[in-house]
């Protein structure tokens, strides 16, 4: 039995996020006004047999805790025969 998990990794608050700044500046050019505090992170999806390993996995590889925060978004049981 595996569990489907999502890990959200984002730049730590207070550390300049140039990608977020670029997106924030691009939106008004397309007519989307009133947008602030845009940050760009990454979503990591995985199927895992032992979800208790997720935190260690984040600390060691998926995120760099010095500069990134991570959040384990959800963990749903998945049918053993599920694919994709």
């Amino acid at each position: 039995m595996t569990v489907h998990a999502r890990v959200l990794v984002r730049p730590k608050a207070g550390i300049l996020d140039p990608q977020g700044v670029a997106v924030e500046r691009a939106l008004p050019a397309l007519g989307f006004e009133g947008v602030a505090n845009v940050h760009v992170g990454r979503l990591i999806e995985l199927d895992i047999e032992d979800p208790s390993q997720l935190h260690a996995m984040c600390e060691k590889l998926l995120a760099n805790p010095l500069v990134e925060d991570y959040e384990i978004l959800e963990a749903q049981e998945q049918r053993p025969d599920a694919d994709g």
Binding site: I15, L16, P18, Q19, A22, L61, L62, N64, L66, V67
Partner: protein, 222 residues
């Protein structure tokens, strides 16, 4: 004196690094494949620039766990000299051998140009062939070169003379904290920098200032 230069899948400056090492009198260099944990008896390690493992996830994050890096970590803990250049600097930070992290440039763009670096400390084993305050002309070429460390760690780096190179006044190309271009570890045997000294060893390319880093390592080895 034998240098070992790591080659990861995606490295691109390892051949220039070997040539730079070979510019040092009485020094030789050999490539070390990432999948081989044997360091083949080299006296010092260079972790070169490039895009190890495609820079997937974060620059240096996956290379840090390669078989050769486990040996490099043990080598450094035993006092061996390790130089990380650009992607190599990122790998050493990810491996915890150097403090801090490299983040995307403030301007978001890839930067490739000659920069002026100021020698902060002239000290064994990496900058002893330069003078404090000397300006070095060495190129940078990176997208993820903004050195970051939390404020209290920056204070500690300053207090313990771990910042060996800064971008010269007004020449910080990427938004690095405290204009930091190169830092060493607390023990002093591991040094990482974003600029590429291996591309500044021949008058043909305009500067030989980079050679001073490699020659200092050879002198330290004796």
């Amino acid at each position: 004196m034998k240098f070992g230069v790591i080659r990861f899948p995606g490295s691109c400056d390892e051949v220039d690094a070997v040539l730079a090492c070979e510019h040092v009198p009485n020094a030789s260099a050999q490539l070390l494949w990432h999948g081989d944990p044997d360091l083949h008896g080299v006296d010092a390690i260079v972790v070169p620039g490039g895009f190890s493992y495609g820079d997937y996830l974060r620059a240096g994050a996956i290379a840090r766990f390669s078989p050769v890096m486990e040996s490099v970590i043990a080598f450094s803990h035993a006092g061996g000299l390790v130089l990380g250049i650009c992607n190599g600097f990122q790998v050493l930070c990810e491996a915890g051998l150097l403090p801090g992290a490299l983040l995307p440039n403030v301007g978001r763009r890839f930067i490739c140009r000659q920069v002026q670096l100021e020698v902060v400390h002239s000290t064994m084993p990496f900058t002893a062939d330069t003078a404090a305050g000397e300006l070095l002309s060495i190129p940078v070429k990176h997208t993820t070169g903004r050195y970051y460390a939390p404020p209290e760690q920056l204070d500690s780096l300053e207090a313990h003379d771990q910042i060996l190179l800064r971008y010269a006044s007004g020449a910080n190309p990427n938004g690095s904290s405290n204009d930091i271009a190169g830092v060493r570890n607390a023990e002093g045997n591991v040094f990482g920098l974003m600029p590429h000294p291996e591309h500044a060893v021949d008058p043909l390319t305009g500067s030989t200032d980079g050679l001073k880093i490699f020659s200092a390592m050879a002198h330290a080895h004796g």
